[in-house]
Symmetry: C2
Subunit: 140 residues, 2 copies
């Protein structure tokens, strides 16, 4: 994702294009490891040393609200963010905090078909995400 692309996405959503917003979105894309706010702050401060903590949190909230990034559910009381917006699943390492994306359209279709037949009573499905917990065999 290039800066021009980020800029367009912000404009599309009616968000002002600011250097902070660009830097934060860029950071999440570049880090590409479902970073925490702290990870993002550390990364950005290298080039942008004066960005305020609160700004990062506010920008992250704004980006989530506007569908440019997503929050990632974890078992820690620390939020993580994901810039990959296509429907995808997550591989959670049971021994560390590593989280990887898992894209699988065949699986998505399988699930879609399954829940077309088998309805959940009193519930309208909007999205399905798999948390696949396990161990990475090779390390990164």
């Amino acid at each position: 994702m290039k800066v021009g692309e980020i800029r367009n996405k912000l404009i599309e959503k009616g968000l002002k294009v600011t250097p902070q917003r660009i830097a934060i979105l860029e950071a999440i894309v570049k880090l590409n490891n479902h970073p925490t706010a702290e990870n993002i702050i550390d990364y950005i401060r290298k080039n942008h040393p004066n960005i305020a903590t609160a700004t990062v949190y506010k920008v992250l909230d704004a980006l989530v609200e506007n569908g440019l990034i997503k929050k990632v559910k974890t078992e820690k009381d620390i939020m993580r963010y994901d810039a990959v917006m296509e429907s995808h699943h997550h591989l959670y390492c049971s021994e560390s905090d590593r989280i990887e994306d898992y894209k699988d359209n065949e699986l998505n279709e399988l699930l879609e078909k399954y829940f077309e037949k088998k309805k959940i009573p009193d519930f309208k499905i909007e999205d399905i995400k798999l948390q696949i917990i396990g161990k990475f065999i090779k390390n990164k």
Copy 2:
């Protein structure tokens, strides 16, 4: 889950049986809504007004470590707990904090078969949980 049963589970895991531990496990079972630590504390203090906040957190951690309860992943920076230990999935309301259990063995088998055939490279699956996001049609 009765007190005797809770007692046995604690003994099984080599945990001392204390009134606090029993009360906390009972609370999670009775509340049955994936409560937060705060929910649990409020509930317990009705009958057990002197229990310390730190005790609740420590007991919750001990119960999670020993596999008697599970943490539930959410997008809020607040932890929720679940006393249902059989493999099951969760229905997340997209409009509120409501989370319900979803048990479906047919689905589990489907997924198991699917991932037997289709391996994920460099990853050994231990557990799969679905986060099914949507809307509850009737309210509780």
